[in-house]
Subunit: 131 residues, 2 copies
């Protein structure tokens, strides 16, 4: 059971920015710091921008920074937004399930409930808790 690498990187970017509140950071710098692919990171940063988590200042001397205080960025929300899907087993994918017991299966509900517990726990934390 695993979060996507995408969510992992998103959390690392946000934590990095939260730890450097006084200045703009660059994708290159974060890629080097974390030894992760700049290309991967560009996608992550782009989405974090679209989601309103970070501001991008273009041009010379530009860079990225958090668009909100760390205490306002809830970890559960970040995961909800960055996980491509929360399809914890095949039958959660609409129209793509081969499971013949699905119509009468209440296990799906239990797994959904467990997933909600997972996210609800992460809703108790903001980035500020990890600085």
């Amino acid at each position: 059971m695993r979060l996507t690498r995408y969510s992992d990187y998103a959390l690392r970017v946000l934590l990095y920015l939260a730890a450097n509140p006084e200045r703009l950071s660059t994708i290159n710098e974060i890629a080097t710091y974390h030894s992760i692919s700049r290309n991967h990171l560009m996608k992550v940063v782009h989405q974090l921008g679209s989601l309103g988590y970070i501001d991008t200042l273009r041009g010379k001397g530009g860079g990225i920074r958090l668009a909100h205080k760390p205490s306002e960025i809830v970890v559960g929300d970040v995961i909800r937004n960055t996980e491509e899907n929360m399809e914890i087993v095949e039958c959660f994918t609409p129209g793509n399930s081969t499971c013949v017991i699905l119509p009468g299966c209440h296990l799906k509900n239990a797994l959904n409930e467990a997933l909600e517990s997972f996210l609800a726990t992460l809703d108790l934390y903001t980035l500020a808790d990890f600085l």
Copy 2:
């Protein structure tokens, strides 16, 4: 975020056996019913046997059946046993983390706590709840 296909299949096997308590079932029959690979299923069944969830009767007329009542098989336990690992992000893998903030990172604790909430929710259910 996803459970392994392995866990998915394990749950399907157990539910199948729970729904057919009066007789022995065969791997072929379950593979056909769920349209899943017999080879995959053999591994799953073998492990479920090793874990004590199912009994195997060999020979002509043999087959498999639950080794316990459905009400005694806790879903959270099954997942704990069948998930290859619970390494929800890279840094959970011992000795394999590239994350430079790991030594001071409390996010890992929060993710662990969230994972525990996930499993604790599934501990509230046994196979009997899904029949």
